[in-house]
C-alpha cells in the first residue's frame, strides 16, 4: 500500500518534471520582462512584473529539484533591485550586471535541460 509520504513524493516528482519541462518558457518570459523593464526602467508596473517572476523562479527552483535555478534567480533578483535603487536615486546605471545575471540564469536553464534529457544529450 502506498503511504501518504510516498504519494506526496510521487506528486513532487511529477511537478519537478513539469518544472523542468516548462523552464525554457519561464526563462524566455524572464528575458522578455527584463528587456521590457530595461526599456522603461522607471515604469513601476514593469518592475513589479519582472521582480515577481524572478522571485517566483527563485522560490520554486529548489523546491522542484533545481537549486542552481534558485541561485541564479536570487542573483538576478539582487541585481534588479540594485539597478532599481540606482534609478530611484536619479541615476541611469549600466545594465551589464543585470544582463550578466540573466545570462547565468539562461545558462543554468540550458544545463538543467541537458541533464534532463540524459547522458546522450550532453555528448
Amino acid at each position: 500500500m502506498t503511504t501518504p509520504d510516498e504519494l506526496v513524493a510521487i506528486e513532487l516528482e511529477r511537478l519537478s518534471a513539469n518544472f523542468v519541462e516548462q523552464l525554457p518558457g519561464q526563462v524566455r518570459a524572464v528575458e522578455d520582462d527584463v528587456a521590457a523593464w530595461l526599456g522603461a526602467p522607471r515604469d513601476a508596473g514593469r518592475y513589479e512584473i519582472v521582480s515577481h517572476r524572478v522571485h517566483q523562479l527563485k522560490g520554486s527552483g529548489s523546491t522542484f529539484g533545481c537549486p542552481g535555478i534558485s541561485r541564479a534567480a536570487r542573483k538576478l533578483e539582487r541585481h534588479i533591485r540594485t539597478y532599481r535603487s540606482a534609478i530611484d536615486a536619479g541615476r541611469l546605471p549600466a545594465a551589464a550586471a543585470v544582463e550578466s545575471a540573466l545570462a547565468q540564469l539562461q545558462n543554468e536553464a540550458a544545463r538543467v535541460q541537458t541533464l534532463s534529457r540524459g547522458p546522450e544529450a550532453g555528448a
Binding site: P4, D5, L7, V8, A9, E11, L12, L15, N18, F19, E48, H52, H55, Q56, K58, G59, S60, G61, S62, T63, F64, P67, S70, R74, E77
Partner: protein, 137 residues
C-alpha cells in the same frame, strides 16, 4: 476563536505548483484540513465558511501581497484572531519585526522541503501555544 489542536489551515499562494504540493503535503502527511487559495480575493471568498485555525500566506504575490492579504483577512471575524505564518523566499533585515507587528508567528523561508513542511507548521503552532508537539503535523 482559539483552539488547542491545529486542524484547519487557510493557505494562500499564487504559484499553482507550489500550492498543489504544499496542500497535498499538509493534508496527506500532516493530516490537516486545508483550504488552498491562489489570491487574496479567493481567500476572502472562502474564509468565513472555512473558519481557519491558522493562516499560511505567501508574502510576494501579485496584486495583493501577503501582508495586505493578512490585513484583509483580519477584518473578517472568522480570521480576526487566527495566528498567521508567512512563507517567503526573501527575508531582509527588519522584515521580521514588521511581520511581528502584523501578528505573524513565524516565517518559513523558501525553498523548503514539502515533505517536512507539516512538521514545521505544527512546531510553530505548538510553540505559540506553549505546548508539546505531539500530533501528526
Amino acid at each position: 476563536m482559539s483552539v488547542d489542536t491545529l486542524q484547519r489551515i487557510l493557505y494562500v499562494e499564487d504559484d499553482a505548483d507550489i500550492r498543489k504540493i504544499v496542500s497535498m503535503s499538509l493534508e496527506m502527511v500532516g493530516e490537516y484540513t486545508v483550504a488552498a487559495c491562489g489570491s487574496c480575493a479567493d481567500a476572502l471568498r472562502v474564509v468565513d465558511d472555512f473558519a481557519p485555525d491558522l493562516l499560511l500566506l505567501d508574502v510576494m504575490m501579485p496584486d495583493v501581497d501577503g501582508p495586505a492579504t493578512l490585513r484583509q483577512l483580519r477584518k473578517r471575524e472568522s480570521a480576526a484572531n487566527a495566528p498567521a505564518v508567512f512563507i517567503t523566499a526573501k527575508v531582509q533585515a527588519g522584515d521580521m519585526a514588521h511581520y511581528r507587528q502584523l501578528g505573524v508567528l513565524d516565517v518559513i523561508v523558501k525553498p523548503f522541503d514539502p515533505m517536512v513542511l507539516p512538521a514545521r507548521v505544527g512546531e510553530i503552532w505548538h510553540r505559540n501555544r506553549g505546548g508539546d508537539h505531539d500530533d501528526a503535523g
